[in-house]
Symmetry: C2
């Protein structure tokens, strides 16, 4: 019986994959990963050094423009993976961070899990990796912890942040200025820290006021640690 | 210059530690870990197979009874570790889950980081591991995600859960019945899932109604996944 693995590969530093992820990656005949229309894949780049020459690779090509619905692309990818699984080949899908935490693997999972055996290998999330890289404890004792998307409206972000003791705001990109305004209005600018390319060589950790809004990547984030 | 490492060892399955955690664990001369007054240490048991005979081991003995303040115990442990660090020995403190996410390592970190170089190795959190073991995607797209402690009052839990799209409730133990009541009142009993000993051989995943309240361990948790 073949198996579909969702393998968390963490945030960028290859050493932050788990022993189990490494074992699965090196034992399956088929590796799949999200990739741009040009074929670039961040997930693949994280584990490139561990892949074997004789593995079949299936890029899951996703449209860059968010306006375009990604669903037909997942349909096509699921079909390709189903073919491999039906032929008795185990397939590992590489997932940035953790497969079930704000990932795109879920769209593959939801299509294939009714038909095939699946196993999820959890990965280091950018939430934990960022606090670790900053050297700032994130949550203590009975803190209310929240993860929010920068895509949410200013009003929603404000309302939610008010009831959190600690929070991480993901998906910044062009939402950075809006999020900064929210932090200003809630008096959180001093406490919050910004990080991009966490755990990679070009990692940057900045105070909110140091960030140039125009240069903020989508996968950067802001950590608002607990007040101890 | 010696270094204090906070090493996340994940939730129980030794294969879920990172390559970096393994490298650090096997290269430092001193290993420390939280332990009971009887000397039992769950964190140590996770990585026992990787430890070397010639490593110095320092148990950080913590009182079992929560009424007793743990602070004097952390003072004593920090002193012991400081002595090793001052003698030029790197020290790795084993941390269940992730070191900066509801961990007890923070109390050591806050005492020693002003004086010594520190580095945090993030770990797989029970939050991600539990969803993976259940095979249930936790959060999609722009979901508001929350982690709540079962120790919080019924009123607070209800108020917070109302504004979350997905949540994990940690620290159950004798708080289970209260939390179950909250889930009932919010109509979340069907959606929620219970897990204990996640990623271990004696792992149990149950629906809320199947759980026997008297047997619930403190480190079990409830996952309320996003509604896709």
């Amino acid at each position: 019986m073949s198996c579909l693995y969702g393998v968390g590969v963490g945030t960028g530093n290859p050493e932050l994959i788990t022993l189990k992820a490494l074992r699965i990656l090196q034992s399956v005949p088929v590796i799949a990963y999200p990739a741009s229309e040009q074929g670039n894949s961040f997930a693949r780049s994280i584990v490139a050094e561990f892949l074997q020459d004789n593995q079949i690779e299936i890029p899951i090509i996703l449209p860059f423009k968010l306006e375009k619905s990604a669903q037909p692309f997942y349909d096509k990818a699921a079909e390709q993976l189903a073919e491999q699984l039906s032929n008795g080949r185990d397939v590992a899908v590489l997932c940035e961070g953790d497969p079930f935490f704000y990932g795109s693997f879920m769209y593959i999972f939801n299509r294939l899990s009714p038909k095939f055996t699946t196993e999820i290998i959890p990965g280091i999330s950018s939430v934990m990796a960022s606090a670790a890289m900053m050297g700032i404890p994130l949550t203590y004792r009975n803190d209310v912890f929240m993860v929010l998307s920068g895509i949410l409206s200013k009003e929603v972000l404000k309302e939610k942040l008010r009831v959190a003791d600690a929070a991480v705001i993901i998906k910044l990109g062009k939402n950075f200025s809006k999020v900064k305004q929210v932090l200003q209005e809630l008096g959180l600018v001093e406490r919050a820290k910004y990080i991009e390319n966490a755990t990679l060589e070009n990692q940057q950790i900045l105070s909110i006021d140091e960030v140039e809004a125009e240069t903020v990547p989508y996968f950067s984030l802001i950590v608002i640690p607990s007040q101890f």
